[in-house]
Point group: C2
């Protein structure tokens, strides 16, 4: 999908993570919170089963912004994330990116970033990215 980088442009990316991804993320980051890794422990929590690390779910933001929309040349300046609902493995999610503003002098943009459960359409994560890209903005 090739979307022009202008205010109002929207880019959508479908994705999911596996339990192996959660384990790889736990290993590289050191976040071994049992809520993400231990089904027995997670069963004792309000979530009933392991949830994906919020920051692993949100890593779809750095992936898409850095490689697809707007893509190579992007330098990440900031990201906010509200973790509204838990995310689970093997569930299809939709990440929606909408350009909110562009500053052509500074080559920066603010882009709203949202993750929805593809089936239920409920938002799991909402935030705002700030990005510099000298070629695109």
């Amino acid at each position: 999908m090739n979307v022009e980088p202008i205010v109002g442009s929207r880019f959508i990316h479908i994705f999911q993570f596996s339990q192996a991804d959660v384990e790889a993320f736990a290993k590289v980051t050191g976040d071994t919170n049992p809520l993400h890794l231990d089904a027995e422990y997670a069963a004792t929590t309000v979530f009933k089963r392991p949830i994906i690390h919020g920051m692993l779910g949100s890593s779809v933001f750095t992936k898409v912004l850095g490689t697809e929309f707007p893509g190579y040349g992007s330098v990440y300046l900031g990201q906010t994330m509200d973790f509204l609902r838990p995310m689970f493995v093997d569930i299809e999610y939709e990440a929606v990116f909408t350009i909110q503003s562009i500053n052509p002098d500074k080559h920066t943009a603010t882009i709203s970033t949202e993750i929805l459960d593809k089936q239920t359409r409920k938002a799991t994560t909402r935030g705002m990215a700030t990005l510099m890209n000298r070629e695109k903005f």
Copy 2:
């Protein structure tokens, strides 16, 4: 280090990432932006050499909050991150966590999160975490 979870409490964690960590993070997240992986490409940018993914650097927040301070039982509700300066592999960084407020009714807290270059004392990342932990807050 055992720090009481009260307003004003501070927790410090020293860490660094290797290029193998950057590659593992790129693999699990899919963020293959050459700025992080390709020394020849990075040499053509203002950074001159590959920089760590901002979200990999900030993953120290989810690690420490989820496993050490306040630790197990933490549920991540939100995180903001301003990427102020690039981070590099094989450099020691210091992550500083300071409890800003606690809501005992909701068992939530806001915790400022900052990363400093351990040598130069310059901040690379600043943000705020929002967390629920029924046992600690």
